[in-house]
Amino acid sequence: MGQTIIEKIIAHNSKADSVKPGDIVTVNVDRVMLDDIMIPFIVDKFHEMGFTKVWDPDKVVLIYDHLVPASQQDDTRHYRVGDAFVKECALTHVHRSDGICHQLMTEAGYVKPGDVVFGTDSHTTTYGCVGAFSTGIGYTEMAAILGTGNLWVKVPETIRVEIEGTLPESVMSKDVILRLIGDLGADGATYRALEFTGTAIDEMSVASRMTIANMAIEAGAKCALFSPDEKTAKYCQTSLDGFQKSLRGDEDAHYLQVITYQAEDFVPVMACPSQVDKIRKVSELEGTVIDQVFIGSCTNGRLEDLQAAAKVLEGKTVAPFVKLIVTPASRKVYEEALACGALQTLLKAGAIITHPGCGLCCGRTGGILCDGERVVATNNRNFLGRMGTSKVEIYLASPAVAAACAAAGKITARI
């Protein structure tokens, strides 16, 4: 009986010959990610549980990103609690202002293909872009992992998504995942693993795959997986071993569902307020007046995203009375965008370029809006009240579409 990628990873991790959906398995954790919002709660629970040391400090990564720079005085308490925990448990992997956690976990080499990784943030699914099983958990479970190094998981069933062909030039991987979420529904993949294959996926950069894996949670998925290939190996600065090379869905594996798309059929789309699965073609929304555009986040704040936006805005300016906020996903992304001139292009066009971090996406600072305002954003959620009051309308889009909207001052498909 063949296996899906997630089954192979869990079996390999638990040293079983095979596992099947529904099995409850205790996995050994390869890496955990702790973020600044949750750290005080994690530390409290850790102590309350009676633990005195972390099972393996080298496997722990602590990242400050939601609260950087601090927008409220009490935000700094989270740094202090985090710093004290670093000292107490002799942690060495700490990032205090280097960018968004999910970007750093793969970019800084903490996650390799086939790893089992948990993080205190729902978008931990992102690391599936390199073929790792990663998913978000709460702070209580994180505290338990820190003490024990393991966690129980239920082996999920897998939905396979096949995309063959070549995507149109105006389409980015964001459009692909938005369409898929629209087709599946916001809970269409709850408890399931998504597995992506096909020639269009093979052609995608690791960054584009990250966008898709990142948003898998918005369809409720436990994780999203891409088979590691040469691009993955290069990105992870590693060579793939036999196990990592084997991480492809077997021909005879059992899939709950197989969804097939022809790449040429994709068009630029948006998720309309206030559900991620409320997908419309951008062309159908043409002309809707906007107040702000946000390009950034762990979904779409990478170099290729900033370059796509810069290409659209080259020689243009942001429409009067419209704000374009650009928040690179990491320090490295910022530096690369600076080196290639994308940042300068965006700045000349009138963008507000902030320091790398979660920025507006987490709704604490970075361009909060008020009643009656409308924003086009490249991040992952458009929930009610996510970026201000519940009367703010959030449209999710690709960076290219977002940039075009910024120049036009309204929603437009004319990139």
Partner: protein, 163 residues
């Protein structure tokens, strides 16, 4: 079999974690400080109206969105006895169990339910609403163990030989 009754508040489909507790308040020091903002984007007055023992009944995909464990903690701190929904998002489900907040999946109750009415719950068996019985499933064994221990923290304390 454990039984209880409670007054019902109804919420819709896809009640996300930003609705349950917005990011803005996640850095407050305690759940007690946070709970007044529970459900504020959708129903700002709700948190003040909820009384201990009340029950939430919702549609599909309750708790979708982020991994913030503050969401089930806030619901628990407001005194909600249990949440009954057509379905739950995955991370929220785990977080709730780990905090000893009872979640019940029931596909039909929400569609029939009127806010303010009272229901009687028999755990692992059914919900009684105006004489009509809505069957509910039993929880998997490993989750029952966590709940029986009084949540994950207590389970870990026992493991570590304290409490």
């Amino acid at each position: 079999m454990e039984q209880f009754t409670g007054r019902v508040w109804t919420l819709g489909d896809d009640i996300d974690t930003d609705i349950i507790i917005p990011t803005e308040y996640l850095a407050l020091k305690t759940i007690e400080e946070m709970k007044q903002y529970g459900f504020s984007p959708l129903r700002p007055e709700l948190a003040a109206q909820i009384r201990p023992g009340d029950i939430l009944v919702a549609g599909k995909n309750f708790g979708c969105g982020s991994s913030r464990e503050q969401a089930p903690e806030v619901i628990k701190a407001l005194g909600i006895r249990c949440v009954i929904a057509k379905s739950f998002a995955r991370i929220f489900f785990r977080n709730a169990i780990n905090n000893g907040l009872l979640l019940i999946e029931q596909p039909d109750l929400y569609d029939d339910m009127k806010e303010g009415d009272t229901i009687a719950v028999t755990v692992n068996q059914d919900v009684d609403y105006q004489g009509k019985r809505y069957p509910i499933a039993s929880l998997p064994e490993n989750l029952v163990e966590i709940i029986n221990a009084g949540g994950l923290v207590k389970a870990m304390r026992r493991r570590n030989g304290i409490g």
